[in-house]
Amino acid sequence: MRSLESERDTLFVWVGEKATHLVYTLRRSPLTILGLAIMVGFISVAVLAPFIAPYDPIAIHPSDRLMPPSKTHFFGTDTAGRDVFSRIVYGSRISLRLGLIVTGLSVAIGSLIGGTAAFLGGRIDDAVMRFTDLCMAFPVFVLAMVITASLGPGLTNVMVAIVAIWWTVYARLVRSKVVEVKEETYVEAARAIGASEVRVFLKHVLLNSYSPVLVEVTLDFGFVVMLGASLGFVGLGAQPPTPEWGAMISSGRSYLKTAWWYPTFPGLAIFLVVLGANLLGDGLRDILETRTR
């Protein structure tokens, strides 16, 4: 009992130290704060979408066809008279959810498989690594495109396709980290005290490989959002009338000249989210990795 309590205490202290350090370094990096602000902003927009969006993102208003940006329609309207601003606001739900689910699932699956493989080693390790090699032998977008095409267009299938590729990234990452940590003295020590293998694995090994994963997740979040939008753009993602950003640009691209706002604002939204994730991830890397630039 006592040892558990003290363990918990040390964990608290450890988290506290890390947090203080994080806040301290964050303050010195305006770009990271900007990234954080963008991400927080978009997440709030997604959560509060019904309160922010002035119009229904799906209901059509034929008489308001292709209205330029104005006080009533901040970002103008599209060919069906739908408010582009409202669609972008609701679209943030789709893109952020895609990013979260895909990175979340990929991390979970990847670290489980990668960690296990590294911990067990031997044949299993080899097999898993060969499989990840296989997935990495493809240009990502090509593979995502082919898988989505095979499963049929749609948002769920886009997620399935990206997760199917993406977990390998984390599997490799976690594996290399685990292999590294496995040999550390404190893990050896834990084992020597008689801690069970599972416990050693979960507590000491996996927890200690978190920082590169966190950085990777943040950077990948942007990449995944972009990938989802790209699939939407080529017509393999969300189907109409879903307000997906990539699909919006795809439909709006014919109106680039006659109604510039239609393809422009969804593009800006994608750009901002990806930028936010990149800024944040970049900052986190600087903070969490001791090597400074």
Partner: protein, 335 residues
């Protein structure tokens, strides 16, 4: 060394097999009927059945797969229902356009990225340096298809600087086909008119694709260079009174470029993938557009062929990158 290359080349085979197996299985889950597509909406059921029989689409899946692999070994990637041509001949035609586009983009990205990165490192804390980091993050965050639209609107429509919709001028005959890449072919045949026109036509889509890798390479160059500039031997060179430009160009850059070479392979994969979107926007007749059309028409043989070729090229490029890395940097040993 040779053993290493051989082993890497040998690895390509199981990789290709594994990958075709995955894509083959997936593509047969697709609802929809390629034969019905082939015959058009006027086809009778009997005609569909007859053609299915002729193409042996009623065989069990594993047998169809084995047949596919056997054909693939002979360089036959099957038959496109939609274009009514062997997939191989389609791919040979469209792929080179994509290859030309992505290679030019890579060149732009590397030259631009290294120059930008080097300047900003050399003038550390100068205005350019101050801009490079946020700018490169901006570049990395721009969706390719969005950049493409902006380039289209600005450089084609408003400024009229670049042509679109073709690989070469309307009234210029393509150069004699040697590689299928217009730029290379016109260089080889000394057809300067075609060369000029081909370069002019590739610039727009290539710029659009190059933006993101350019940003990444610029960043990487900058940070590598800064690290190298801190090394002792640079200090020595400086102490000897070598001018700063020479220091950066001759001593530091060469060493800083080594890690850049390794990321080239990854960037190339990115370029191959996103060229699909640039092709759609700029009406560039490449393999991505071909694959998209095939996907829309549930024509799975071209899709399969497309992924095989893309993976193969990607693997080969990475192999070349790794081998050349060894040449540049003899310190690396193979295990």
């Amino acid at each position: 060394m040779i053993f290493y290359i051989l082993r890497r080349v040998f690895w390509v085979i199981p990789m290709l097999l594994g990958m075709t197996l995955i894509v083959f299985t997936l593509s047969h889950i697709v609802p929809g009927d390629p034969v019905a597509t082939a015959l058009g909406p006027l086809a009778t059921k009997a005609a569909v059945e007859r053609l299915k029989e002729a193409w042996r689409l009623n065989d069990p899946l594993p047998i169809q797969y084995l047949r596919y692999v056997k054909q693939m070994a002979k360089g036959d990637l099957g038959f496109s229902v939609y274009t009514r041509r062997p997939v191989m001949s389609d791919i040979r035609k469209y792929f080179m356009a994509t290859f030309e586009l992505s290679t030019v983009s890579l060149l732009i990205a590397m030259v631009g990225g290294i120059v930008l990165g080097a300047i900003s490192a050399a003038r550390k804390n100068g205005i350019l340096d101050f801009m490079v980091r946020p700018l490169s993050l901006f570049g990395m965050s721009m969706p390719v298809f969005w950049v493409g639209l902006l380039i289209l609107l600005l450089f084609y429509y408003r400024l009229g600087l670049i042509p679109i919709g073709r690989r070469i001028g309307l009234f210029i005959d393509p150069p004699t086909r040697i590689t299928g890449m217009y730029i290379v072919d016109s260089l080889l045949t000394g057809n300067w008119t075609a060369l000029g026109s081909a370069i002019h036509h590739v610039i727009g889509p290539a710029l659009c694709l190059a933006l993101c890798p350019l940003a990444i390479i610029a960043r990487q160059t900058r940070s590598n260079l800064l690290e190298v500039l801190d090394e002792d031997y640079i200090g020595t060179a400086r102490a000897k009174g070598v001018s700063e430009v020479i220091v950066v160009l001759k001593h530091a850059l060469r060493n800083a470029l080594l890690p850049i070479v390794t990321i080239t392979g990854i960037q190339y994969g990115y370029l191959l993938g996103s060229s699909v979107m640039a092709e759609v926007i700029f009406s560039w007749p490449g393999i991505g557009r071909y694959a998209l059309t095939a996907i829309r028409h549930l024509d799975f043989q071209p899709v399969l062929g497309f992924s095989v070729v893309m993976a193969l090229v990607y693997m080969l490029v990475n192999l070349i990158v790794d081998v050349s890395y060894v040449y540049i940097n003899p310190k690396v040993r193979f295990s």
